[in-house]
Amino acid sequence: MTSLGKPMAHESALAHVTGSALFTDDLCGRFPGLLHAHPVTAPHAHARVLALDASAALIVPGVLRVLTAADVPGQNQIGPARPDEPLFPTEVMFHGHAVAWVLAESEEAARLGAAAVRVEYQPLPAVLELEAAVGEGSFQTEPLRLSRGSAQAALARAPHRLAGELFVGGQEHFYLETQSAIAHLDEQGRVFVHSSTQHPSETQEVVARVLGAHRHDVTVQCLRMGGAFGGKEVQANAWAAVAALGARLTGRPTRVRLSRAHDTSMTGKRHPFLGRFEVGFDAQGTLLALRMQLFADGGWCLDLSEPILYRALFHADNAYRLPDVELEGRVVRTHKTSMTAFRGFGGPQGMLMIEEVVDRVARTLGLDPCAVRERNFYRDGDTTPYGQEVRDPERMPRIWRELTASSDYADRRQAIADHNLRTPHLKRGLALTPVKFGISFTTAFFNQAGALVLVYADGSVQVNHGGTEMGQGLHTKMLQVASHTLGVPPSSVRMMPTQTDKVPNTSATAASSGADLNGAAIKAACETLRSRLAEVAARELGAPADEVVFDDGRVFARGRPEPALSFSHVAHQAHLQRVPLFATGYYRTPGIHFDRATGTGKPFHYFAYGAAATEVEVDGFTGMYQIRRVDILHDVGDSLSPQVDQGQIEGGFIQGLGWLTLEELVWGADGRLATANASTYKLPGLGECPPIFNVALLERATEPDVVYGSKAVGEPPFMLAISAREALRDAVAAFGSGRPGVVELASPATPEAVFWAIERARGSTA
């Protein structure tokens, strides 16, 4: 009996539902003398700091100290990719940029102290709009390019051509737990940081950098995160660094926790994108040539924008063969928060752009977009624009066929057409869209992981690995991998908090790779231990070691389930026999590479596939709409944990739905974020969850060379929500004349955006 591949409750579910699960800021009460930090934020989008006078803050009762650049013992620099991100800036680069931090005995005193700090600013011109920044040539990078053949020649040859552009709005992560860190010192002045971080090793490195310390002087622990979604991949580091600096300078434990309004106005978001495209196609909608330019609004500093833009380019094909293609991307600088990783990491923007292109092609020709999509799927022997062979190309058409059948696509298409004839003010739309998503960090060296597994002499087990738990169920899956590999019940295994003194130099838990990488490392460590224990058991069972079976806490010879030894007995015997009961495991993804100079390589270990069919209903008076039904078929390989995977698929879909529909970021003319809290920035609520929501995992989908045949699931389902956007467009089109033609729809497709799209569609009727 193994739990692997079977539905299992979240490893922390009991703690979640009783409120006993601890998040970083819940630890406050455990640190007597805790200091609270509050930022001094700039009221300009771009300005020079001319003078900073903290004297008035220091007389606020309870204020202990004001942290400025002069207090930094190491480097005043936290940039992950290049040194463009001072922790204490002299040039304000976005509205709300923290120029100093106040430490006080209470939150209230820290806030009052921050308000009392006098800062003199010289306002400078700011560029806020992506398109304006492109026009001004405000770029952070040189262009990145991927190409094959000659797009220009193929465009010239193509029987049909169209050109267009699309602006795609960004997205606030809105993890329910805001950014937080608590730092304290040990007796030697070394720092321990509790941090809500997806990347404890990088947080450790940044803290060490700011303190001028070695990494072994800094320990970072992440118990769990209350959501992260990429927003705590590099952007957790600053708060940990401020907390650590406060602790170092005062000797007292120091806490940073951003209020929601601070979090949204100080941290990065999904990149807004501007795409411009020109496509050549034939009368059946076959894509022949594509030229596409993507501009990513990187905000004020580089952060992860370059790999994010690469991933956008890598997904500008989605599931479609593009014979002659020229893709170019560039990171733009604006005076906004630095845009950062967010579930999909640029992939969603690239994929949305090609889906926009395919829909425009289909509607221009008056064809069913569903059929045009299917026509363009990759086939045997095809390669991507970056030269990677598309392994399993038959998987996409298979998913498409199965989902078309299970969602009753053809009959519903007809029923909707009938319905729309009867209802002039209420139109329904239906769309099916595919997802093909590349799995691996595109920065090759990140694709490694380590684990440390400890077996105690009573047979209980601790598992340490480099991955962090943010709700995605990583620890649950890792527990299932460990318990299956060691052949012990899940209750014998304890997942330890992620801590940098257990596994060093880890990668971020990101790129959907957490289970693939850490799972393989844990499996390796457990196999080492199991083979050592097999030797011990073999002697007692009188069987060869390679015939010893470990199953659910019982150890026996193959084919001879009785008599069996208990796992705890074998562990105890091993200890007496001086057999080491701890082991490390290590994994690196084989065979991945990418050459930036040529724009070719194999950046991905494999692709994850899926498709969704979404039906919506739109009110023609207001543009308001409802999601009526969603059907999803998704490929997770052999699922390690089906309930976790289903949760990732559903949650990813709804989060993607938010990005494409409700979630609209609005900045004022002064650069202030006008949508800084839940009252102004609308996440999907219960009302957005479709009343019919069918999710199925693709059968017979074993993925070779991945831990227990599984596939990554964190990001790919996010992009299934593109089907909702296309369904809205389908409904908008139904308000029009029915004549062929492009149906433009802004993104996000808020009710207002849908309303204007309907007006345009109706206008083309007249």
């Binding site: 006993s20 009460g29 737990e177 929601r260 709700g471 709804i654 609005v666 809290n677 999907p684 309303f755």
Partner: protein
Amino acid sequence: MAIRFTLNDLPVEVEDFDPNTTLLAFLRARGMTGTKEGCAEGECGACAVAWVQRDALGNTRYQPVNACLLLLGSCAGREIVSIEGIARGGELHPVQQAMVDRGGSQCGYCTPGFVVSLFAEYYRPGRTELDPEAIAGNLCRCTGYRPIREVAERMGQPDESDPFRRRLALAPPPLEPVRHGSEAGRFLRPSTLSEALALLAAEPGAVIVAGGTDVVVEVNQRHRRHLGLLSLESVAELTRFEYGADRVRIGAALSLTEVEQHLAGRVPLLEQLFPLFSSRLIRNRATLGGNLMTASPIGDGAPALLALDAEVELVSLGGTRTVPLSELFTGYRRTARKPDEILSAITIPLPLPDVQRFYKVSKRVLDDISTVAAAFSLRLEPSGKVLAARLAYGGVAATPARARDAEAFMVGQIWSRELVLRTQPLLARAFSPIGDHRGSADYRSTMIVRLLEKLWVDSSGGAA
């Protein structure tokens, strides 16, 4: 004066506190960290707690409320259950067990709030099927809601030995008056109107608070710190409801949930308003009186009541005066209330108009703030001739307002599609809305006009 309340069956006494303190801050400072802060403005529900309350039908029930918007002083005398008090004797509560079994938690941060909302729903008197609103005030960023919805849909009934069910057989604790003073300020909670007026006269700077769903947002988000807070939540005269022969009179301090229960669908326009007004977690505390007195241009209560020709009663030690709602709003977030007056009741004349409709244009259908709100009512002769029209809007001007020219134009004409088309140009000139993060000026202007067309289609059964 210390305040006392019961928290998870244990008595709590708080001697000295700043009256601006919320229950959420208090709980977390005591190490009860299961209750979470997600937004501190009543939108996400991560801080939900439940308290024992008698509802408008006389049932004792657990009512979930947002602890981030709950002033500690308001907790005086209450019996409160936080997430830490739901599992008893080492056993998970059935709603907790169901959340575990169905995968209802991922990151776990919003989970305590959902569990509290589900817990309260589990004991809702007369529950036969899910009230989807029971969990619509809780936001989850991970799950996409499907498993949590299934937990809510498939809840069983509490058995007779269930200690919480047994608790509900008894009356809720009475709310004693509160006179709390500390160095940081005063929290005053009188029980009678005369007491309230006397306190207000003695402390004219005191900020009046009813449910706190607006006042405390300002405390949390704009860091307002009030030296004196005068809570009307337990003033007997302000929590009465009458449905008379010629008018409905709604006590200003009744929560929207209570108003909804009292009305029981008898005022269709308000029945349409309630689910769109806000989440249940907010409506359990928010009052119509508070909604009107904030005088927000985007409050949904005002346009609805304007369309019903409501009046408000303003009481002072000098007496009571009645003001038509249409004369209450004097400017952006300003009203005709004098500093010594308290809004005591809202009255709606009967009989009700023949056609009534409330529309809310917003990004999210539930739990959002209006881009444009419109409340329409028509009194019609049997011939279809318009006797009176009320076209009231929110979100289109500095105050909630009626389109009086358009209303006047419609009188005497037959209610028809043609009349709509001829009225629309007047509506187009009625207001000059601004554009902001909720919607552009153009969109608002267009909605003002189109919603009347929608009224025609909806009220005439879709006839084109």
